[in-house]
Amino acid sequence: MRSSIAVAAIGALLALAGCATDEPTTAASGSASGTPGSGTGEQSKFFVRAEYDKELALLDATATGPAGKPWEQVLNPAMVETAKFKKPGPHKVCFSNAGLNNPWRQVGFKAMQAEVDTQQSRIREFVHVDAEGKDQKQIADINDLLGKGCDALIVSPNTTATLTPAVEAACQKGLPVIVFDRGVDSACPVTFINPIGGYGFGHVAAEFISQKVKTGGKVLALRILPGVDVLETRWSAAKVAFDKAGVDVVGVEFTDGDPAKTKKIVNDYIQRYGTIDGVWMDAGAVAVAAAEAFLDAGRPVPPINGEDQLDFLRLWRDNKLTAIAPTYPTYQWRTPIIAALRILDGEPVSSPWKLPQPTITQENLEGYVDPDMPPLHYAMCGCADLPGYPQRWK
C-alpha cells in the first residue's frame, strides 16, 4: 500500500537526517516457553516453568527484615549496589501509575501517599501521573516525567511487554527506576518490587480447592478478563494444580468483574451440572457474588477462594464457608517509596525485592475481619500505622 511505503520512506529519511530519538538502544527480549496442560485447556503462553518453581519455593521461604512490617521484609534477598545514585535530599520522587481504576489500586495508592507523608522531610515533591489504564498514555507519561527533573522514578506498568521500551528509555536517563506490581522485560530498573506473584496466588487457591474436592469433583473457574498478565499467571498455576489433582474443571468463564454476570454464570452451572464442588477465581472481586449465587439457590457454598477484600472475609466468617484467601497485598505500594529513598541514600537494596505474600485461612481469619472498614477495603493494606488511618481509607 502507498501509505506503508510512505511510512518506510519517512523513517528512512529521518534516519538519514540523523534526528533526535527517544528510542532505547537495547532491544527487549524474553519470550515465554510453555508447558502443555490437560483437561483445563492449553497452557498459557505466560506460563514459565522456572518462574513457577521459583515462586512456589518462595511460598515456604522466611522473610528477612523488621517483624510486623512485611512491606520492608524481603524473601531471599539479593542485594545490589546503589552508590552511584546517592544524592543529597530532599528529593523529588515521580510515579507513573498504570491506573487507579479499581479498589485494589485505590487502597494501595493511598498507602503510598501516606508513606510519602511520613517521609515528608526527605521528599520535597511527589509527582503522580495516572495513565488511566492506557499503555499508550503511560509511555507518553513516562517520557513526560523524564523532563521534570525527578530524582527517582517509580513505575507501576500497565502491561509488562508494552511498557518495557519506555522504562528502558527512562533507565538511560541515569535516574534510578523502581518498578513494582507488574514487571518489565528488562534488567535495567534498579529493583523490581512485588510480592511472590501470580503463580503463588493461583497455586495456593487451586491446591486448597483440589484438596477439599475429591478426584473427579467438578470445579468452576471464574476469571475476570483474558489477556491481563497477572491474572493469566494465576490461572496457569491453577491449571497445573488442577491437572495434577485430577479434578474436573467443568468451565472457565470470564465475568468482566461484573457480579451480576457472575451470579448468572454460577446459577447456570449449578443447574447444568447439578452440583459444583469447588469454585476457583483469579481475583477476589466477584467472590462474594459467586458465593451468594449458591446461597440464593439454597445450596451450600462449596470450597471457594477469594481475596483479602473485607466483604468476602465477612461473608466467609458469617456463613462459615470453606474458603481460602490468597492475597496480593496492597502494602507493596509502600515499598517503592522506601526503596527509592534507600537508593537515593546509596544503600544497597534487594533486586528483585520479593515481599511476603500471606494467605488468609480459617485459622487466621478473625485477625483480618475489620467491621469498621468499607466492604471493598483490602485487609492486607499494611496501613494501620500510617497517618490518616482509618479515615483516609474510608
Binding site: 506503508s4 511510512v7 523513517g11 537526517a17 534526528c19 509527582v127 501521573v129 517520557n143 513526560d144
Partner: protein, 324 residues
C-alpha cells in the same frame, strides 16, 4: 425571493481552534502559576504522541461520520492491527513491508464488512459496527491472553520514537494522513460524493452517485486509518496488545474528537481540519491536567462537560442560522 447576498458555501475553520488556543493559554497560565512548565519539550512530545494515536483513528472516523455513518468497531480494529503487525514482523526488520501491508489489508477487509452491512444489509451503522466489534472481541479474547509478537526494531525506531525537534514522526504521519483526507474530501469525486451522501442520500442517489460504493469506501478508509493507528501503537508498544484499543476508548474518543471539531454527527458537514483541532484539544486537556496532577476521574467529568458544551455551541450557531 431572498435579496440577501448569496454567500459562498461556508468552509471556515471551526471554532475548535479558538477553543484550543484559549485552553492552551489558560492551561499555560495555570500550570505556570502552579510552578510547572506546560511547553517543555517532553510535555509537547507526549502531547503530540497522544494526539497522533487518537488523531489517526479520528481522521478515519471523520470520513464515515461525514458520510452519515459511524464506526464503533475501530477500537477492536486497532487492537487487532497491533497484533497482526507485531506478529507478522516477529522482531525482524525484513518483514516490515509485508507486515504493514497485511495489517492494512486486514483492516480494509473489516472496513469492507462494516460497509457491506451498513449499505447492502441496511443495518444501522451503530448496530452493525458494534456487532462487528463483538465479533472481533471474541476473536481477540479467545486467541490472545496478552501481548504477542514483536514489532520490527526499525519501525519502533522510526515511527515509534523518532522525532524532528519536538515533533514525533507519528504526528507527522498524522498530518500527512489528515492532509490526504482533506485532499480527498475537497478534490476528489469520492470526497464530493461522500459529503453529498452524508448531506442527503436521496439527493446523492438521484444525482447519479453510487451511494453504497461511496459509503463502503468510506468505511474501508476509516478502518485503514484505524489500522494505521494500530501500526503506530505497535511501534510505540514494541509488541501487539489485544486490549490497547478498548483500553484507550478509541471508539468513543474518536467520535468525541470528530464532533468537537465541528463535524455534524448527522453527516454532510464538517472536515478533517476541525477533527485535528478536536484531537489536539483533547490531548491538551490531558497534558494540562497531567501537569496539575488532577484526578483522572475529575478529568473525565470535565471532558464530558466540554464535549457536550462544545456541541451545544455548534448547535446554537446552526440554530441561529436556521432560524427564519
Amino acid at each position: 425571493m431572498s435579496t440577501a447576498l448569496p454567500l459562498p458555501a461556508g468552509r471556515t475553520a471551526p471554532g475548535v481552534f479558538v477553543a484550543l488556543a484559549l485552553t492552551l493559554a489558560a492551561g499555560w497560565l495555570i500550570v505556570t502559576i502552579d510552578g510547572g512548565r506546560l511547553f517543555s519539550q517532553p510535555t509537547i512530545v507526549s502531547l503530540l504522541h497522544v494526539a497522533a494515536g487518537l488523531g489517526l483513528v479520528a481522521v478515519g472516523q471523520t470520513l464515515v461520520i461525514i458520510g452519515g455513518s459511524l464506526d464503533l468497531s475501530v477500537a477492536y480494529v486497532i487492537s487487532l492491527s497491533t497484533l497482526v503487525t507485531a506478529q507478522t514482523m516477529a522482531g525482524s526488520d525484513g518483514a516490515l513491508l509485508p507486515a504493514v501491508s497485511l495489517t492494512l489489508a486486514v483492516s480494509a477487509a473489516i472496513g469492507f464488512l462494516n460497509g457491506l452491512l451498513v449499505t447492502k444489509a441496511r443495518v444501522n451503522a451503530f448496530i452493525a459496527t458494534v456487532g462487528v466489534g463483538l465479533l472481533l472481541k471474541g476473536f481477540l479474547d479467545s486467541g490472545y491472553d496478552g501481548p504477542a509478537g514483536e514489532t520490527a526494531p526499525a519501525l519502533v525506531r522510526s515511527l515509534g520514537y523518532q522525532r524532528v525537534g519536538p515533533v514525533p514522526v507519528s504526528f507527522l504521519l498524522l498530518l500527512a494522513v489528515a492532509g490526504a483526507a482533506w485532499f480527498v474530501l475537497a478534490r476528489t469525486r469520492f470526497g464530493h460524493h461522500l459529503i453529498a451522501v452524508g448531506g442527503d442520500p436521496e439527493v446523492a442517489r438521484l444525482s447519479g452517485v453510487r451511494n453504497d460504493r461511496v459509503l463502503v469506501t468510506a468505511h474501508v478508509l476509516c478502518a485503514l486509518c484505524a489500522g494505521l493507528a494500530g501500526i503506530y501503537l505497535a511501534s510505540r508498544l514494541g509488541s501487539g496488545a489485544p486490549r490497547v484499543g478498548t483500553e484507550g476508548l478509541y471508539d468513543l474518543e474518536s467520535v468525541a474528537a470528530v464532533v468537537l471539531g465541528g463535524t455534524a454527527l448527522a453527516g454532510g458537514r464538517g472536515g478533517v481540519a476541525g477533527t485535528i483541532g478536536g484531537v489536539l484539544l483533547l490531548a491538551s486537556i490531558d497534558a494540562i491536567f497531567n501537569q496539575l496532577d488532577v484526578d483522572a476521574f475529575f478529568k473525565q467529568v470535565i471532558r464530558g462537560v466540554i464535549i457536550v458544551a462544545a456541541v451545544a455551541v455548534y448547535a446554537r450557531r446552526t440554530l441561529r442560522k436556521a432560524a427564519f
